[in-house]
């Protein structure tokens, strides 16, 4: 006879999120403990209750892991975030320069005007998202075990800087191009996604068993 709890699976997304923030040996023991208690709760109080408990534990655990990463290595985290800001400043002009060099080289404006408009607007914005992801990957590579904290902090700092720039822009009476806002948000997310990519690659390299 197979009980309901034998089929219970811990929430995969919660597992994945904890795995992103916990590194190596810590992730193994931490997720193992959560899974063990999940199985016990699922057989005792039902799968729905166990899943809700698991999500609550995952949320609190991630908050502790983030706080701990700042407490353990505040200077390293700050240094990589500053390095990321400098790198971002260095590469942020590349999409414009590259795109216009290519568009002028092939005289796209004369032959395909709509394509020119697309590449000169959305094409450059897509280029920014790609360079942001690159910056996120570099920052994550420099902060082994704290990839997510470093990239999320960098994303938040850039978000705050953009917010301040927008306020100054509006305060000086200049028109605001709101259509660019989703692209800015895309840039911040791309930095974090860069961190996720590096973290997952490292996690896969340690050959840990699957989540459930």
């Amino acid at each position: 006879m197979t009980s309901q709890s034998d089929f219970a699976r811990a929430p995969r997304i919660a597992n994945w999120l904890v795995n992103l923030f916990a590194a190596g040996e810590e992730a193994e023991s931490l997720l193992g403990d959560m899974l063990e208690e999940f199985s016990l709760l699922a057989s005792k109080s039902g799968v729905a209750f166990a899943r809700s408990w698991y999500w609550r534990q995952a949320r609190k655990t991630i908050a502790h892991l983030v706080g701990n990463a700042f407490r353990v290595a505040p200077w390293l985290t700050a240094a990589t975030v500053i390095g990321g800001l400098l790198l971002n400043r260095f590469v942020s002009g590349l999409p414009e320069r590259t795109m216009f060099a290519v568009l002028h080289r092939y005289q796209v404006i004369d032959h395909h005007f709509s394509a020119y408009v697309f590449f000169a607007t959305d094409g450059i914005a897509i280029g920014h998202v790609i360079t942001s992801m690159f910056v996120g990957c570099v920052v994550a590579l420099a902060t082994k075990g704290r990839e997510m904290v470093a990239t999320m902090t960098l994303g938040l700092v850039l978000c705050a800087m953009t917010g301040a720039a927008v306020l100054v822009w509006v305060a000086t009476g200049q028109a605001l191009n709101l259509w660019m806002l989703p692209w800015y948000i895309g840039d911040w997310f791309a930095i974090v996604i860069g961190g996720v990519i590096v973290r997952m690659r490292r996690s896969a390299a340690t050959n840990l068993p699957s989540a459930t």
């Binding site: 193994e28 403990d33 959560m34 199985s39 892991l65 459930t212």
Partner: protein, 110 residues
């Protein structure tokens, strides 16, 4: 680390849980022991953050057990208190006893 270092409130609770559990002390049992004895809901993340801090201070030591199926093939990380940790918990305990000596806490604050 100076020999006048005291344990923080939650560190103290975690070390006492390790002492109570002995060889069975790992994340799940420590969390449950604290929850049962203090009626305080604690997360596994809080336990690990504290244990990692205590390990960095040299108050506890950890080792990995064998992987088990119920844990999705993951190992348990067992913890035990070191001599330095015992000294710290005794120091903290003495300080607390000395501070509460002569106080009738139950009558004063009930």
């Amino acid at each position: 680390m100076s020999n006048r270092d005291y344990l923080g409130e939650f560190e103290h609770i975690v070390v006492l849980a390790l002492l109570r559990l002995g060889d069975r002390a790992y994340g799940v049992t420590v969390r449950q022991e604290i929850e049962v004895r203090t009626s305080r809901e604690v997360s596994i993340g809080a336990i690990y953050a504290t244990l990692n801090r205590l390990e960095a201070k040299g108050y506890v030591r950890s080792h990995l057990g064998d992987p088990t199926a119920e844990r999705g093939g993951r190992s348990k990380r067992f913890f035990r208190v070191t001599a330095k940790g015992m000294a710290a918990v005794n120091r903290t305990q003495r300080a607390l006893q000395s501070m509460t000596e002569g106080l009738d806490l139950i009558r004063s604050y009930s």
